[in-house]
Symmetry: C2
């Protein structure tokens, strides 16, 4: 949390420099353009708002293939920054990257029955390895002579093919631990898809580690949860998350137990943003992966797996963005500062573009990702909306009259505040705003979550909390710990147990109580919510 | 070529510090270990040498899926460094990354007939989207009720799905150029596979750009060839390449013309290391991608595509490595310097490990990727072989007696030279060797290619050059320019035209002559060779 505490100091210093200024000209224009570019307000239809935002902010596009998305350059640049930060964290905690095949032989999926039952059924099945001209018509058909003797499945996740490989790589305790991560595409044939949040093909990283003992695997699963996923979500994405353990019903099929980080969206639903699984010896037994330990006896290997995906982009949008469009936390913004030089005639533009270049150079020297919008035909108002829609945290407006006065205007994307700043101070102010906005987004999201956290004690209160169609926020309630009760609750209310929190949100949450449904004893409150 | 000219200066300075020293102890041991770890010598069987090297140097492994490889952590770390360097070059030349679907609807492949005929037939065909329990037995079967109405093909390359998307993204000349690259996996169902060089699934980047004019597309194809691929091959991989144009028979199916970089292997064959295609308007016409130009008329868009793949790793091995194993050019070595602290008792090890840490810290400060081999049970000789096999450019041996004398031993992987160096100078010497070895590998490979370049003028000479089973080096000969003649030559000798060089290897190569086969007129010599 070093970043955030440092940020608090800058927050107060930074805010004093920022106060609203009137800027009538461009605003009136931008309101016209705004209606052209506009997206449905969140209050009207949150789902439409999200879908339109993803498309209009140039983050992703639908494709010709059902359920598959095109990640557009702006969205992919964001994903690259997220990848880089996560990859650095994985490497700092001792992991290396590798690459395993896209295809999984069907027989591999048959080996871990629980795993298949859990989610490996809806998948893309490759049956042929050649196309040929259709002898009875036009076009191409799969060549009947090129039918595979065993079907191949496009990986929905890679535990099976990886553990089949690990059998050859692990003989002795000296080969352990094996700490490997893979960046890859995976395919799950989802019925209902939504850009970034749930697509048939998505990009992710999947860690697959092998250990000599249960405890070491447990430590690994926790390291990823704490040192990588939680830190990334909170310090880079500015998304506060609740860390917890999944119930039996919600854990990964094939895991001993599953850790999760859960984020609350603005429509009061949960997104499971990352999971870290202790797989016990399940996959080692299914694929016969043993090692000779220090006592010269053969043991099955313990495993973990863990992953985050392009779903994180959807999480980011649903937590921070607003009716103007995307809001991107500075640390992972492909463009952190956009500079808009104004003026219609060449002489004026020469001045404003010159000043813009100087500001950009100063920012680049400090490692800030900056863009100057040099388009000549678009109005300033159009550009304001354009970059607001795409989530750029800070905008600097370089106008001729301001320039004559030795100033320019700096505007924050997160809260819309604008200020007139001396040219000599603008780079420093913009740099200072990076931490201010980063911390502000986190605090705002955390305050929102706190304001939408409730504790219910009776079934009537529970049902009332989940009565509407929409999300219900963080609902803390006692539960008797049985899968049966969880299922009944889920059927009645559509609420599921998002997690059993590892750190109580309030000390009273870990006091014993009685289950809201059955009245049976409960050790602690768990988190119920509606999930994406 | 700035890197190389700078290197020459360091080369002479560096070499004076490096002279062979006797080191009898470990050598006698290492020769024993060597036979355990040993790989078939190149002279005995080049193909076995390559296959064994890839496996034993921990670069890649075979997988349970026919023709698909596992890229092991050491090999993947190399690929990551290659990706990073290439990606920086693409971005420096104005490109952005994006991501398009893995699946291509079958009908898309039917649209560009020449493209399909060329190579899209041997591919992985997805026909079902669900597995179900086999009602007539055990295990899983593709669910007959989940048969796709249109088959999906795993992308062998993405021109079709991308140009289908570009139709929506391009309306006006103001949307052009579109300069997009994708890092992805692709699948081509190859009959004969070989790790890195030809696998069913491989990793690559594919650039797909859209332009308003033929000339602009031409400039783009050349920028990639010259500024990215050639520079990357020569300055990063230390692999000299011949830039040229492909003949009609050898060009990419669907291209107007194809540029290539060709590398010569140690067994005198060619590897096509990267290609850059001017696609003309072929894909724009197949997918109806038009734009309104400045004159307000509709035009089809011009296109390029270009790619390099994990095949580059195979190229690297075949050009530089030796009978001891992999030789990695320093600029893309995952580990650039390995330090081996010696000594068997704790007191000695404390000293040698301490000195090793100090050297490592100095190297890290200069950005050198360094590893200290702290394993206690393995002998120094074992470790020497271990890291030589894996291609680490420089080894530093920290022994107790040397340490008392204030020195240590530094050894070069590329030529086996060892020298005793004062501890105070060892970091600087190692850093200097990075450029020395990088330049030395390039020069050695270039000298090898020059020594294996011949010019033949008659059919008898041509046939003699290609008489053996193996490669024949760079054979420059006159050709009448017709596909028919190229086909006859290829049938008779297994030689193909690798390229029509863009820069003559010798001024005489562009003097007119007569075709070696038909005696018809020829404008210039072209390069014939046997290809991987």
């Amino acid at each position: 949390m070093a970043l955030l505490s440092r940020s608090y100091i800058r927050l107060s210093a930074g805010l004093s420099a920022i106060h609203a200024v009137k800027d009538a000209g461009p605003v009136s224009h931008s309101s016209i353009v705004s209606s052209n570019l506009g997206i449905t307000p969140r209050s009207e239809n949150f789902s439409d708002w999200y879908n339109e935002l993803v498309l209009k902010a140039d983050l992703a596009d639908h494709s010709a293939v059902r359920g598959c998305m095109v990640i557009k350059p702006h969205g992919y640049a964001l994903w690259e920054l997220m990848q880089r930060a996560l990859d650095d964290m994985f490497k700092a905690t001792g992991h290396v990257n590798a690459y395993f095949p896209l295809f999984i032989p069907k027989s591999f999926l048959e080996k871990e029955a629980e795993h298949v039952e859990g989610f490996a059924k809806e998948c893309a099945v490759v049956t042929h390895h050649r196309l040929k001209a259709n002898p009875e018509g036009t076009g191409l058909i799969p060549d009947p002579e090129a039918k595979l003797t065993e079907e191949l499945i496009i990986r929905p996740t890679s535990e099976t093919i990886i553990w089949n490989t690990y059998r050859d790589w692990i003989q002795s305790y000296r080969d352990l631990p094996l700490l490997i991560n893979q960046w890859a595409n995976v395919v799950r044939w989802e019925l209902r898809t939504r850009l970034f949040l749930r697509t048939a093909e998505f990009l992710w990283q999947e860690g697959h580690t092998a250990h000599a003992t249960y405890d070491e695997a447990e430590q690994e699963a926790l390291t990823i949860l704490n040192e990588c996923y939680t830190r990334f979500a909170e310090e880079w994405m500015a998304v506060p998350v609740i860390k917890g353990v999944k119930s039996e019903n919600e854990k990964f099929a094939g895991a001993d137990h599953t850790y999760t980080i859960e984020a609350l969206t603005q429509d009061l639903r949960f997104i499971q943003a990352g999971t870290s699984h202790h797989l016990g010896q399940n996959f080692a037994k299914a694929f016969d992966v043993k090692f000779v330990d220090r006592d010269n006896t053969q043991q099955f290997v313990y495993a973990t797996s863990w992953g985050v995906s392009t779903r994180l982009v959807g999480t980011l949008i649903m937590v921070h963005s607003d009716d103007k469009g995307f809001i991107s936390p500075p640390r992972i913004s492909p463009i952190q500062v956009v500079i808009i030089p104004m003026g219609r005639d060449d002489a004026t533009r020469e001045k404003t573009v010159g000043a813009s270049n100087e500001i950009a150079d100063q920012l680049k020297k400090s490692g800030i990702r900056v863009k100057i919008d040099l388009r000549e035909k678009e109005s300033p108002g159009f550009k304001y909306n354009y970059w607001e829609l795409r989530g750029v945290p800070v905008r600097i407006e370089v106008g001729p009259r301001d320039l004559d006065a030795g100033t320019c205007v700096i505007a924050r994307r997160d809260n819309g505040e604008k200020a007139s700043v001396a040219l000599a101070d603008v780079a420093e102010t913009a740099i200072g705003l990076m931490d201010v906005i980063q911390a502000g987004l986190f605090e705002k999201a955390k305050a929102f979550r706190d304001a939408n956290t409730i504790r219910v004690n009776t079934w009537e209160e529970f049902e009332a909390a989940f009565a509407g169609e929409g999300g219900a926020g963080v609902v803390l309630a006692h539960w008797d710990g049985t899968p049966e009760t969880e299922e009944i609750i889920s059927e009645k209310t559509k609420a599921t147990i998002r997690c059993i929190p590892m750190t109580p949100l309030d000390p009273s949450d870990v006091e014993p109580g009685v289950c809201v449904l059955t009245g049976k004893p409960s050790k602690q409150r768990v988190i119920f919510g509606k999930a994406y």
